[in-house]
Amino acid sequence: MIRAALLTALLLSAPVLAQSREGFGPGPVLPDVGPIAPVDSDLALPKGTRFKIAFDVAGKAAPGGLSRQIETAARTLNMHVAAGVPQKDVQIVVIVHGPGAMDLLKPEVYAERNEGKANGSLDAVRKLLGAGVEFYLCGQTAMGQKITKADLIPGVKMSLSAITAHAVYQQRGYTLNPF
């Protein structure tokens, strides 16, 4: 009985599971992050279409929660691979500045800054890094928030500034996602 109640509580408090939103299911690259909906799309993806997308993330998740924008990056990867684009042709960089820096912190650093709470984006960031998605933290933000490289989830990189990272990636042919 206690176990059942505990399990229910766990399920209710768990970050939204891929299957839980009606019409959305797990994606092929990261099955438990960024659920996707099938779409009868009018916008053709000609064979050979390659995506290079930069996301700009300034907002942070509620303490302990999953960053909505980091989840959007995962969904973008999932849904384009589901639509037939090879995974190597969906290149994503997530450029983080401002309050969003919080969600890139290592567990112990995050907990210190959030009353002991766990970083709800940690799993998503690790899995995205593992799938080849790049993360850059704005160095100016880091300085302002007293964040050092050693405070970041391993694999997260630092750029001189978010502006620098956006400029460099757009020069490399990345398109900018506006939200």
Binding site: V39, D40, T49, I53
Partner: protein
Amino acid sequence: MRALLIAVLLAAPAAATDGPVFKGFGTHTPVEYNVAIPKGMVLRHVYDVTKAAPGKLNPGFETAARFINSHVANGVSERDVAVAVVVHGPAIVELTKPEVYAARNSGTSNASEAMVKEMLAKGVRFLVCGQAANAMGVKKADLLPGVELSISASSAHAILQAQGYTLNPF
């Protein structure tokens, strides 16, 4: 008295100009501009719209019409101004058929419908985020004819930018 007149003149916005492509919306003001538009330049521009505007013209859509009106009024050929509007979030309902809109909005009508239809007829592209549509329970058949459905808003933006559309930053 004269001071009052001057104050009124200073405070009044410059007169809005209607047309030449769309009348009654997307008005613009004449500008003594310094940024030249080279002859033959093709402008491909994409807007991102999420907010709905119940009971009035959706300002995000209208801005796209203003872009066309103001450039054509200033000598750019209409065929050289291509505009796309990527829509996700609540604004999607303002691209649905009248009966769908009414069913979702207590029987009211969509104040942006006539504007959207005119814009579609003039070649403006409206691209709906398939992920958001799905989450909102909006199906392809619910959309006004001519509105396009994309895998996602991110997908549409990536494709349009790769095709040379510039992203409007606000």
